[in-house]
């Protein structure tokens, strides 16, 4: 028997006046998933997360989080940690003091705070005031705050936002470490290449409506993997295209290569067939490789209205 989803939303809607920020959103997030929450700016990601956290009241719809009703956030928020709309702490308090305040409010033991600060690599800056932290350090303190009480569900809204490349690298590593277990995570980000590296489940929304949800691999496979074929001599490109077309392999022409969709074919078999066709025409191949569409490619395709 499969476990019930950690989060199940059904027809969740939030109206601000006539505008629907979130529109009939129905999503499931399975236990233990690292779920990427993707959508353009203003697509309703933060509003959805705010509804999950009891900060915003839904206009319509229902749902459960950790098996408890969405309209009773006090029944499940003890097992949820979150960072939403950026880290917000008391500027005059130190990092450790800020976490102590939150631990006390949540009814958790503040004794775990030093370990949390070590986990996010702020141990040596624990007694510095929040206002003196860099942006990356503030984000990491936000993650530490979300981890108070060892939550079963972690909700992170744009945790990579505003970080420099080194900060993104550190944060990606941290998220990877946090995801290494039974904890379920819901992470929104517009840095799709980063999400692709850490997420095994994806939810894509646009205009407040669901566009896709499911295993990340399923979304990436949908576009079909393709094989890139490039002749050694670029002048042979057009002739190669003709040869492959004659053999039944139509493809997209790039600057110096062709891209043949894999479809349902066996990758090795198709590669061999392409190689044979080129060889039969006396064309030497400089490149013959398998390529996968990135999450960004798939996302842009979806946002342009295809494959919805």
């Amino acid at each position: 028997m499969t476990n019930p989803p950690v989060m199940r939303l059904s027809g969740l809607t939030k109206h601000y006046g006539d505008r629907a920020a979130v529109d009939s959103l129905t999503i499931d997030v399975p236990v233990g998933a690292v779920a990427g929450f993707v959508g353009p700016n203003g697509s309703g990601k933060t509003t959805t997360m705010a509804m999950l956290l009891g900060l915003v009241t839904p206009s319509e719809g229902m749902g459960t989080v950790l098996g408890e009703a969405l309209e009773q956030p006090e029944s499940y928020l003890g097992d949820v940690g979150a960072l939403i709309e950026g880290p917000a702490f008391y500027p005059g308090l130190t990092g450790a003091q800020n976490l102590a305040v939150l631990a006390t409010v949540a009814g958790h033991d503040p004794a775990a705070i030093p370990d949390l600060l070590e986990l996010v690599e702020l141990g040596e800056r624990a007694d510095d005031r929040f206002r003196d932290y860099s942006f990356g350090m503030k984000q990491r303190l936000g993650i530490a705050a979300a981890l108070i009480g060892d939550p079963k569900l972690l909700i992170l809204d744009e945790p990579l936002n505003g970080l420099d490349p080194a900060g993104v690298h550190e944060m990606r590593g941290l998220i990877g470490r946090l995801a290494d277990g039974e904890r379920t995570m819901l992470i929104s980000s517009h840095l799709l290449s980063e999400l692709e590296q850490v997420c095994d489940w994806l939810i894509v929304i646009d205009g407040g409506r669901l566009v896709f949800q499911g295993p990340a691999a399923e979304l990436l496979d949908r576009s079909g993997t393709s094989i890139v074929v490039a002749p050694e001599d670029p002048d042979d490109l057009e002739r190669l295209r003709g040869l492959l077309a004659a053999a039944g392999h139509e493809g997209r022409t790039g600057d110096d290569h062709l891209e043949i969709a894999l479809g349902d074919s066996d990758p090795r078999g198709l590669a061999a067939a392409l190689n044979r066709a080129a060889g039969a025409g006396g064309i030497v191949l400089a490149e013959l490789r398998l390529t996968h569409a990135s999450l960004e490619d798939r996302y842009l395709t979806m946002m342009n209205g295809e494959n919805r």
């Binding site: 705010a50 009891g54 900060l55 915003v56 956030p73 006090e74 979150a82 939403i84 917000a88 939150l102």
Partner: protein, 262 residues
């Protein structure tokens, strides 16, 4: 509520806050005692409305007369501090961070308010003690006897003055909290609060003398003064209680139902 009360106390128990509170108490005590004793006249009733006389300072309640006058001026300070605190929690997003950990909004608001009022009560008690000490130091300069200050009557007067001051400050604090919850922005809430309770109400009073019987800032001044010719203590107390109850209830409802965004 209890957890939020404890969490707020964590913020208030810092050394920096303690030093600021003690320094503030010392300053109020010193300024109030010096001003009251140096301005005390022999002609009772002919000085300014709140002015102490040498005779009144020599009576049982003389020890805390400077405290009462000082505390009446502290109302606006408490008003401003509570506005800044509650509006700051909203504008800098810390209420959002707290609510993700403690979603019972009434409990959060009540716990925070209770902790801040408890802190105010402690600082006020310290201020009263320091003012009595400063008054005792100033008394010889005006040949005022302190003999009757430290008897039962003196203690009763001190307790009564403390209760009146705490009541007034709690009302200012509650109105400040409510205004901050409604407006959310620190500068806007401070602007509205200071302009309303300061110049606006006094201008109204100049134009319409009955204003002092109806407007909250003027009623609080009357309450702190132990009643005036226009407003009895009872009327001031009842109307202030009505204002505070209405403001706190409305603020609590708004806070409980509002979407927390930004």
């Amino acid at each position: 509520m209890t957890r939020m009360f404890k969490a707020e106390l964590l913020k208030l128990r810092r050394r920096r806050v303690a030093i600021a509170a003690i320094a503030g108490s010392l300053a109020v005590a010193a300024v109030a005692a010096i001003a009251v004793f140096l301005s005390a006249s022999n002609a009772g009733g002919q000085g300014p409305q709140r002015g102490a006389t040498v005779e009144s300072l020599g009576q049982a309640g003389g020890a805390t007369e400077a405290f009462s006058i000082g505390a009446s001026f502290a109302g606006i300070l408490v008003f401003v501090l509570f506005i800044a605190n509650f509006a700051g929690e909203q504008s800098q997003g810390t209420f959002r961070t707290l609510l993700m950990r403690q979603p019972r909004r009434m409990g959060l608001l009540a716990g925070k308010m209770a902790a801040l009022l408890a802190f105010t009560a402690v600082v006020l008690a310290l201020t009263e003690i320091l003012t009595v000490a400063a008054s005792a130091a100033m008394a010889p300069s005006q040949d005022i006897s302190t003999e009757s200050w430290f008897g039962i009557d003196g203690l009763e007067a001190a307790a009564g003055d403390y209760a009146t001051a705490l009541l007034g400050l709690s009302a200012w604090a509650s109105l400040g909290m409510a205004l901050a919850i409604f407006v959310r922005s620190i500068p806007l809430a401070l602007g509205i609060g200071i302009v309303w309770s300061g110049p606006f109400e006094h201008l109204l009073q100049d134009a319409w003398t009955a204003a002092s019987q109806w407007f909250p800032g003027l009623l609080l001044e009357a309450l702190a003064a132990g009643g005036t010719a226009e407003v009895s203590t009872t009327r001031a107390l009842v109307l202030v209680a009505v204002y505070v109850t209405a403001a706190v209830s409305a603020a609590a409802i708004v806070f409980a139902r509002r979407d927390i965004t930004g």
